[in-house]
């Protein structure tokens, strides 16, 4: 059964989703969803633990590699799968109370089914070695996330979901066009096979167009600065649980697909030397970091504030990727992981506020530090991680990014990065000030502390940002192994 592990990651949630529609019992479905999510997490962890024996490939239906669909597991995909499924599991453990309040009871089993489908899509994007499959899984995760977002309580939720749908579909279709042109030139859809055949058609205009379409398509999906417009509304009006999950994972998986695109299919030489994509990426990410962070400062809704911060944080990941050396790529991958934890944790805190206070406007949160001390403290810790204070996960990735920028002698980038962290201090501090040092609003005065069932998962995630801030073997260590294998540098020994 061990050799069947790669497919189990996909099949378990994929089969569970329709099963839950058949069952339809709210409580039972909730229990099973949690079981399924944790099982998938277990499978992903065991896949990652087998990575020291080399990458695994799995042929669907037993069809040999370039003809059939292959699932590939290497350090990078296993790593991304572990944190996607892990956060999926922990968010669903945290979910029941919040879902109970925010989503109509009759929709619960459908909600959990969509949640699992979204997870299936995201995991599938990580594991598949077939380019068209990436598109299909991208659409599975996108369609289910549109549906999930539209479940928000306010009337703006469907509108936000529709905007996301339109922009997201345009992005996915761009990606599809790129795949088509690539297929036309190489005659294959298998990523490794394309990489082998691409030399023969290198430099043709079709390849350039294909690359451009795929890049822009993925940029839309990962909400890179000028293409981020769908993100703030979608995150703000979605139900809290959905925001936790999507904010923590969806954009990261798109970043992962982008890394694959550049480092596996097209080579970094093509993207960064023949094309000035590295400079473009650097410019976009730096502008994005500053504009989005500045926008975050002026928000009056705590969810929207975090959403803008997410746009800024994507910039850091791209900055690392654009450096195209081991240090930068390691920093980018580590930041994917760390930011998933931090942002997942912070949105979980926001979910606690939403449950007890009922409003997410900053003015209604005033003084919540007294009535909801544990929740507010979680915000402080998570916020420190977002800023990148030493001993937190955010520091590790920013430190890696900084050192690799300095090793490339990109002084302005390093300075701008430090300055941008100050912006993060401003928007995090604004919330802290409101929580602790403002006269209490009447909503916050009567609020109770969030229930333990939500606080414990929140603290697990927030606590892990501290753990991974001090102990980086399993975050930066694995990211480095992944970066080395992507850049074709042979690695000796295990994870270290």
């Amino acid at each position: 059964m061990i050799e069947q592990l790669p497919i189990l990651v996909i099949v378990i949630p994929l089969m569970a989703a329709p099963l839950f529609v058949l069952i339809g019992n709210r409580k039972l479905v909730l229990l099973l969803t949690q079981l399924v999510c944790w099982t998938v997490f277990g499978v992903a962890v065991s896949l990652l633990s087998r990575m020291q024996y080399g990458p695994i490939s799995y042929e669907l239906g037993g069809w040999p590699s370039p003809y059939g669909i292959v699932y590939n597991v290497d350090y990078l995909s296993a790593f991304v799968m572990v944190f996607v499924s892990g956060l999926g599991a922990i968010v669903i453990t945290y979910a029941p109370r919040s879902v109970d309040k925010e989503i109509h009871h009759s929709k619960h089993s459908l909600f959990y089914a969509s949640y699992l489908l979204c997870m299936t899509g995201l995991l599938g994007m990580c594991i598949t070695g077939d380019l068209f499959n990436v598109f299909v899984f991208l659409e599975i995760s996108s369609l289910s996330s549109y549906a999930l977002i539209s479940l928000g309580k306010t009337r703006r939720a469907p509108l936000a979901a529709l905007h996301y749908l339109i922009i997201g579909t345009v992005g996915a279709t761009f990606f599809l066009i790129g795949i088509g042109l690539l297929y036309q030139m190489t005659g294959t859809l298998n990523m490794a096979d394309i990489a082998n055949r691409i030399q023969a058609v290198e430099g043709s205009r079709t390849m350039l167009v294909a690359f451009a379409f795929m890049t822009v398509g993925l940029f839309i999906k990962m909400a890179v600065f000028p293409l981020h417009t769908w993100l703030p509304n979608a995150y703000t009006y979605a139900p809290s649980v959905v925001t936790c999950f999507i904010a923590a994972t969806a954009t990261k998986v798109s970043v992962y697909a982008f890394i694959r695109l550049i480092y596996v299919i097209f080579t970094p030489q093509f993207a960064f030397e023949q094309l000035p994509l590295d400079q473009a990426l650097m410019a976009f990410s730096l502008v994005g970091i500053f504009v989005a962070s500045a926008a975050a400062i002026y928000q009056t809704n705590i969810k929207r504030l975090l959403a803008y911060s997410s746009v800024a944080q994507i910039g850091y990941m791209l900055l690392g990727i654009s450096m195209s050396n081991v240090g930068g790529l390691t920093a980018g991958i580590t930041h994917m992981f760390n930011h998933a934890l931090i942002k997942g944790g912070l949105f979980m805190v926001v979910g606690c506020f939403a449950l007890r206070i009922g409003s997410l406007k900053l003015e209604d949160l005033r003084g919540a530090g007294k009535t909801m001390p544990l929740t507010s403290f979680a915000w402080v810790v998570g916020g420190l991680g977002l800023i990148g204070v030493p001993m937190t996960a955010g520091f590790v990735s920013k430190w890696l990014l900084l050192t690799s920028a300095l090793s490339l002698e990109l002084w302005p980038v390093a300075v701008l990065m430090l300055l941008s962290s100050l912006l993060a201090v401003v928007y995090i501090w604004r919330v802290v000030e409101i929580l602790y040092f403002s006269p209490a609003s009447h909503l916050a005065q009567t609020a109770k502390e969030a229930p333990m069932a939500m606080l414990i998962p929140t603290y697990v995630v927030i606590g892990s940002t501290i753990v991974f801030g001090c102990w980086t073997v399993y975050s930066a260590g694995i990211a480095q192994a992944a970066a080395k294998s992507l850049l074709g540098i042979s690695q000796m020994g295990g994870v270290q």
């Binding site: 099949v11 994929l14 089969m15 099963l19 529609v21 058949l22 669907l60």
Partner: protein
């Protein structure tokens, strides 16, 4: 539409043929053009036509929304279940070769009337059986989903007006 006898009669005449054609596309799909998706759409088209002409309550009686909702899930389960069965039989996911069962694949006697030595498959097995099951799952799901979409929109109108 109750006052248009021509439409009602033509619809009644057409529906059996649409359904039959749907079945043909479904089961011929593993030899020639066709397959579960197309068949599902054709099948759903029959139901939707019936609904359009005779009204939503009538088609609800033929295909109750509850049943249709469950069928949506069931079809997908048939598909994934086929893959899982292949896995449990020792192959990879969707490795239909594992579905070789050797039971009644060829009728032992009395097939002399077939031309030459045509391999006559009585019960499908292996790749053939796998494709058949998967397409069946797809067909069920697509029929159900298309009908469901129709119900969702047609039903909405009734509520708001």
């Amino acid at each position: 539409m109750n006052s248009f006898p021509i439409i009602r009669v033509i619809t009644k005449l057409l529906i059996p043929y649409i359904l039959l054609f749907g079945l043909y596309v479904q089961f011929h799909g593993d030899f020639g053009p066709g397959g579960g998706f197309q068949a599902g759409v054709i099948f759903a088209a029959a139901l939707i036509l019936y609904g359009l002409v005779y009204g939503l309550p009538a088609v609800h009686k033929v295909a109750p929304p509850k049943v249709i909702e469950k069928l949506t899930a069931l079809g997908l389960l048939v598909y994934a279940g086929t893959g899982l069965a292949c896995m449990l039989l020792g192959g990879n996911f969707l490795d239909y070769d594992m579905l070789n069962h050797g039971i009644l694949t060829e009728l032992p006697v009395a097939l002399d009337f077939l031309p030459g030595d045509t391999p006559y498959h009585f019960l499908p097995e292996g790749q053939h059986l796998g494709i058949f099951l998967v397409e069946l799952g797809v067909g069920i799901t697509v029929t159900a989903v298309m009908t469901m979409i129709f119900y969702a929109f047609a039903g909405r109108e009734r509520v708001t007006s």
